[in-house]
């Protein structure tokens, strides 16, 4: 018989081992640089440098300018995080190939927020403690929001490529800048389209209880007030696959239009299951659901005619005509926020150039005052950090493809 002490020792060893393996898995791309500093094990510091095309060494060398990125690398939104990381790396590689900024090379330091507030705060603290000059962060609004004070206290300028909850810039921090228009613009666009284009009398709103989706649904309800009746205001659980119960009871209320404000995985299933139940209402989804996978999950015939409110993305940029093939060559199909992440990277680079220094405060100030031509059009920020003249567009699925049906006036 083995003594319980030995067993316990063995158990803790197993646990520790599995934790090491987990840590290696969950933060595979970003963990490299940090493990180099702490003299980490060999198994961790090897490989996965393939992401960065630059010739940077694992440890932070003196000459490089470190830029932080806090993105969802794991978790349900991992794909979006990967898309965005690719774009930022691509922008940095291009800038570095042309001699870098201030004669130094840009180097990306990625941390994982997993779209989870707790992980995001930990990741933000870590990024701030490193010698980064500016930060690109924010896909999930709910995860990004609690990190804002951390960046503010450190005086680090942040460019947000995707998150767009109204509350993000309501805090009044002078460091936070959104590449996107906000949820309020999106809600207005959605409500107008539903009422004016579809002549809907009864509207059902479905959200997934995340900060972002709930806010969008609530704002849409406000904008619909007096113009159409909101017959249902329902929540679903992200990660769930079966929404037939909600949809069946929705069917009884006979809505003309359904607006789902959550993300594409659930959006696709809702479209699929709604059509399966014989619901004929027009369906619209928010920008979180803007991904070609939506059509795949829903099934092409079910998705036909579905509308999407979205920031003008890779699908509607004049500048993206030559950008998309350039991206495709390196990383395959761009995601809905690839363009925004690319623009965010360029904003940061340009701000450092204009500041003429890597001093955090100076760079943060330069970001707020930036005025450049991005792939997504001219980029400059208002006093509160929103994008000047930001707007949303509407796409519709036609023959399985996203087609622009409404461009908002600039």
């Amino acid at each position: 018989m083995v003594t319980s002490r030995n067993l316990r020792r063995f158990a803790s060893l197993c646990l520790a081992l599995s934790l090491v393996v987990l840590a290696g898995c969950s933060s595979a791309p970003p963990a490299q640089q940090s493990s180099g500093q702490s003299g980490g094990t060999q198994s961790q510091s090897g490989g996965t440098q393939t992401q960065s095309g630059s010739s940077s060494a694992p440890a932070a060398s003196e000459g490089d300018i470190l830029i932080g990125a806090v993105l969802p690398i794991t978790g349900g939104s991992a794909k979006m995080g990967q898309d965005m990381q690719n774009s930022i790396q691509m922008a940095f590689d291009e800038i570095n190939a042309q001699g870098g900024v201030l004669g130094r090379k840009l180097k990306l330091e990625v941390q994982d927020d997993a779209c989870d507030p707790q992980s995001a705060v930990a990741a933000a603290n870590k990024i701030v403690s490193m010698n980064v000059v500016a930060v690109i962060s924010g896909y999930c609004s709910g995860a990004f929001l609690p990190t804002e004070p951390i960046y503010h206290n450190a005086g680090i300028g942040v460019v947000v490529p995707a998150a767009n909850a109204v509350s993000l810039t309501e805090q009044g921090y002078e460091e936070i800048n959104l590449i996107n228009a906000t949820n309020r613009d999106q809600a207005r666009t959605a409500a107008d389209y539903i009422v004016n284009q579809w002549n809907a009398q009864k509207v059902a709103l479905i959200h997934d209880n995340s900060a972002f989706a709930l806010e969008l649904a609530e704002l849409t309800r406000e904008f619909l007030q007096g113009r159409a009746e909101v017959v249902a205001f329902e929540a679903i659980t992200p990660g769930e696959k079966d929404f037939s119960a909600v949809l069946t009871s929705l069917k009884g209320k006979g809505p003309d239009a359904i607006y789902f404000t959550g993300y594409y995985a659930e959006g696709g299933l809702i479209i699929n299951q709604a059509r399966g139940l014989g619901i004929t209402a027009r369906i619209m989804v928010g920008d979180g659901a803007n991904d070609p996978t939506l059509v795949e999950i829903a099934g092409a015939e079910n998705a036909e005619g579905v509308a999407i409110t979205t920031s003008p993305g890779a699908f509607d940029f004049t500048g993206s005509n030559e950008w998309v093939p350039r991206y495709r060559e390196k990383y395959g199909e761009p995601g809905p926020y690839s363009v925004h992440a690319y623009d965010a990277a360029n904003v940061v680079a340009e701000a450092i150039k204009q500041a003429g220094t890597t001093d955090r405060a100076a760079v943060a100030k330069a970001i707020r005052g930036i005025n450049i031509e991005g792939i997504s059009g001219p980029i400059s920020f208002t006093e509160t950090g929103n994008r000047k003249d930001g707007y949303f567009i509407v796409l519709e699925v036609k023959d399985g493809e996203f087609t622009v049906v409404q461009r908002a006036p600039r």
Binding site: C14, V21, K79, G239, E240, S244, L269, G276
Partner: protein, 302 residues
């Protein structure tokens, strides 16, 4: 009225998935008193094996018709079953004599490990995967209720699998040996039963049930990802406690009941209350009948 029937159909499908996964929880608990929190991830792995198998088999003479789907399902079940046995062998067996809390923690670690392993595995990855074939929503109307063939097929398949498992455990020599190990491992060993092999068999059977549910969920919903096992795992655990953990008919009953509870709870008060109903039921049953609906107070589980 027709809406109630329609909801009942929805409930049967959800309940089938819960019941199949719950069987694994119950069986493993019955034999070695371990709540295998990695079990939901075996459901996820089954879905992914089925996905890859369908992609590969679809190119052969089997195609993506009924034969192709069945072949893919069997492949996924075999692979997941093997993996379930492997998980027991490397993660649980070395710790079998240790306090239960350690086994529980290992199970949680295993769950995270499996999820992340699928995430970093290149052909599968972090993004949502769309199943190469999906069951159509075709069906027929009966008294104004739309009854999908897919609903019926899933329910029938689940019943078939559950009946098969029940017969195996109750009637076969192997099942008898498993029950003997569950009843008293040492006495069974003294009678010449290889307890390790029986425990492996329990894991194998539980895993193939979960894998079948995973493949069917993939075919039915059309979309899978590496985190899909988490919520289903929790719900199936709830289902098995509801029916009496360690009790196989209880797991089936619990699964179906949970499906009904969720669906009618949702239609009564709204979607955001769905999980409240599921886990509220768990708390109630733990307070008023901790052994579950069909659980007995004494040993003799399985």
């Amino acid at each position: 009225m027709s809406q109630v029937l329609e909801q009942l159909l929805n409930a049967l499908v959800i309940g089938s998935f819960y019941a199949l996964v719950a069987l694994g929880y119950s069986m493993v608990y019955g034999i070695i008193r371990l709540i295998n929190f990695a079990h939901g991830d075996l459901y996820m792995l089954g879905a992914f094996f089925g996905y890859s198998a369908l992609l590969l088999l679809g190119k052969t003479f089997l195609g993506t018709g009924v034969t192709g789907i069945l072949a893919a399902m069997l492949t996924a079940m075999a692979l997941t079953g093997g993996l379930g046995v492997l998980v027991e062998r490397i993660a649980y067996r070395p710790l079998r004599g240790s306090p239960r809390i350690i086994l529980l923690i290992t199970a949680l670690g295993m769950s995270l490990f499996l999820e992340n392993a699928v995430m970093v595995f290149k052909p599968w990855g972090a993004s949502f995967r769309v199943y190469p074939v999906t069951l159509g929503r075709a069906g027929f109307d009966l008294f104004g209720v739309h009854i999908g063939y897919a609903h019926l097929a899933i329910f029938a398949m689940a019943l078939f699998l559950m009946a098969g498992l029940h017969l195996f455990v109750e009637k076969s020599v192997w099942g008898k040996a498993m029950r003997a190990v569950a009843f008293d491992r040492e006495a069974a060993q003294l009678m010449g039963i290889n307890a390790n092999r029986m425990i492996s068999m329990g894991f194998f059977l539980g895993s193939i049930m979960a894998a079948a549910a995973g493949v069917m969920a993939g075919l039915y919903y059309g979309q899978i990802n590496f985190l899909m096992g988490f919520l289903v795992g929790l719900k199936a655990f709830t289902a098995s406690v509801l029916g009496g953990i360690g009790n196989l008919p209880g797991a089936m009953l619990g699964g179906m009941l949970l499906g009904v509870l969720e669906v009618f709870g949702t239609s009564a008060v709204g979607g955001q209350w769905k999980d409240v109903f599921a886990f509220g039921a768990l708390i109630l049953i733990l307070v008023f009948k901790p052994t579950g609906l069909l659980g007995e107070r004494t040993a003799g589980r399985m």
